[in-house]
Symmetry: C2
Subunit: 294 residues, 2 copies
């Protein structure tokens, strides 16, 4: 399938893909590139067969290059990747937001008059993750049963898509397809807005005391969280820097989603203020119907 | 400890208390009262040793009466409970909101000049639950390791508190204490607002399509939910009618919490619009710090 795969980024996603390749395709030679000490740690855990000290060293000779760093870093690496990509190598990324990565690729390609690289690129977004990060969180089974969304460009060759589909199926994912624009709007709603809300909800609980009436001791609300709140805010334990990057990179669809959410929260507050039990129940039931169907 | 316990309400909470009593205090005779077919189903599952067809039959002769129905129902049953309570029987409830239950009790007591009932009442709120409901969801281990918040009234006798504390410890809970006012403000923040937000988030995902650009197929966002969104909205599979009741019963503190949340979401949107990475990261970090400490 592939002989030599370069994975740029040794965190949860890159590390898990390396682990899954090691388990499912042991003949593949895995080259890792990333920051220390994570790179050495990933190598010590057996996630890579070889580590490279420069992007050029990692990319040269690989027949698949995977951008697996935070989005901004993937974009920043693009020039050096394109400069060193072998003539037949395929290129993909694992970013949660696609438009900036594609824009960086198109800019790099335009500068080099190397438009054929576009035929060999397809974006990948495996819908799997964890609030944990770093190579220690890498898990060979992370993608099993999960969706992997592929976004082809107008120029992407059918063979490029077919080979990446085969790779994702091999590590246990089921493949779906969206355009870059569809992808970024869908994941603003199902991932980026929910993360923003979970972080904010956790912040409200952390900071607001139960304001005390006359003669009452103050109580720290956050010390009384039950399992519902803990599940709801699990994703708020994720990396703030990583999520600030994702939200900023996908800010237009995310802001649209936040507006939709705020408008529905406002509608809920109105029914609550009016003690309109039927309207409030109907509003809650819309969410319950969806969630029970999952 | 107690010889005969009457539990009014055969759903998740009442059923689980009945199951836990059966497991930990087999000498206790458990009398159940509730709506059919749940009552018969609970009896068939062995949650009760006896079922009663009226509140009066359930309450008479019990040395502990537990109001375990939805809040509005607990309030509506209060007159009949007080009328039939044995002279030394204790009274508690399992409601998620305390002020309406206490108000109903005080009104019932005032009408009857039976103020001594107040010495024998302490409110209980076990912080345990599930998005499932009904007697089939009853679980003898539901309270193990969970917090049980007791709210005593100014008139509550110390012996009443001590006996209820012992009961909750016996079924595995750890006991804490709050006033009625503290309770309702704290649980607005850590439970009622999060449930409202989870229902609304699920509704946004269910109803909004990824709006299509020219030439793109529409995509249903809700079909691409990952594990983060599913955990975040697990509690949105709860009963809309039950949660409409809870939110309305605790509407003043819940509205205050929704305002605090909306204001922070607005602050997040402002940092996002401005691409202010440092401010956005700091805002997310406040939630992450709390969640990582849980």
């Amino acid at each position: 399938m592939f002989e030599r795969v370069a994975i740029l980024g040794t965190g949860l996603m890159g590390g898990s893909l390396a682990a899954a390749l090691g388990a499912r395709l042991p003949a593949v030679h895995r080259v890792g590139y990333g920051l220390e000490p994570d790179l050495s740690q990933a190598r010590a855990r057996g996630l890579f067969d070889e580590t490279a000290h420069t992007v050029a060293d990692a990319v040269r000779g690989a027949d698949l290059v995977v951008l697996a760093a935070p989005i901004s870093v993937n974009c920043a690496l693009m020039d050096e990747v394109v400069d060193n990509l072998s003539p037949d190598a395929l290129l993909t990324d694992l970013s949660s937001v696609k438009r900036p990565v594609v824009a960086a690729l198109e800019a790099a390609v335009t500068r080099r008059e190397g438009a054929d690289v576009l035929t060999r690129f397809v974006a990948s977004h495996p819908i799997a993750g964890s609030e944990k990060s770093g190579p220690d969180a890498a898990d060979a089974a992370l993608f099993v049963g999960r969706e992997a969304v592929l976004s082809r460009l107008p120029a992407t060759a059918p063979d490029t898509v077919a080979r990446l589909e085969a790779l994702w199926r091999c590590v246990g994912a089921r493949v779906t397809h969206m355009t870059v624009g569809q992808h970024d709007r869908v994941f603003a709603l199902v991932s980026h807005v929910p993360h923003a809300v979970a972080f904010v909800m956790a912040g409200v609980v952390a900071n607001d005391l139960g304001a005390s009436a006359v003669g009452e001791e103050p109580v720290r609300a956050g010390e009384h969280a039950g399992p519902g709140l803990l599940d709801m805010t699990r994703i708020a334990a994720s990396s703030p820097a990583l999520w600030a990057d994702i939200l900023i990179q996908n800010r237009v669809p995310t802001l649209a989603g936040l507006v939709a959410l705020a408008s529905r929260l406002q509608a809920l507050a109105v029914t609550l203020q009016a003690e309109d039990r039927a309207a409030l129940t109907a509003l809650l039931a819309r969410g319950a119907d969806w969630r029970r169907g999952q």
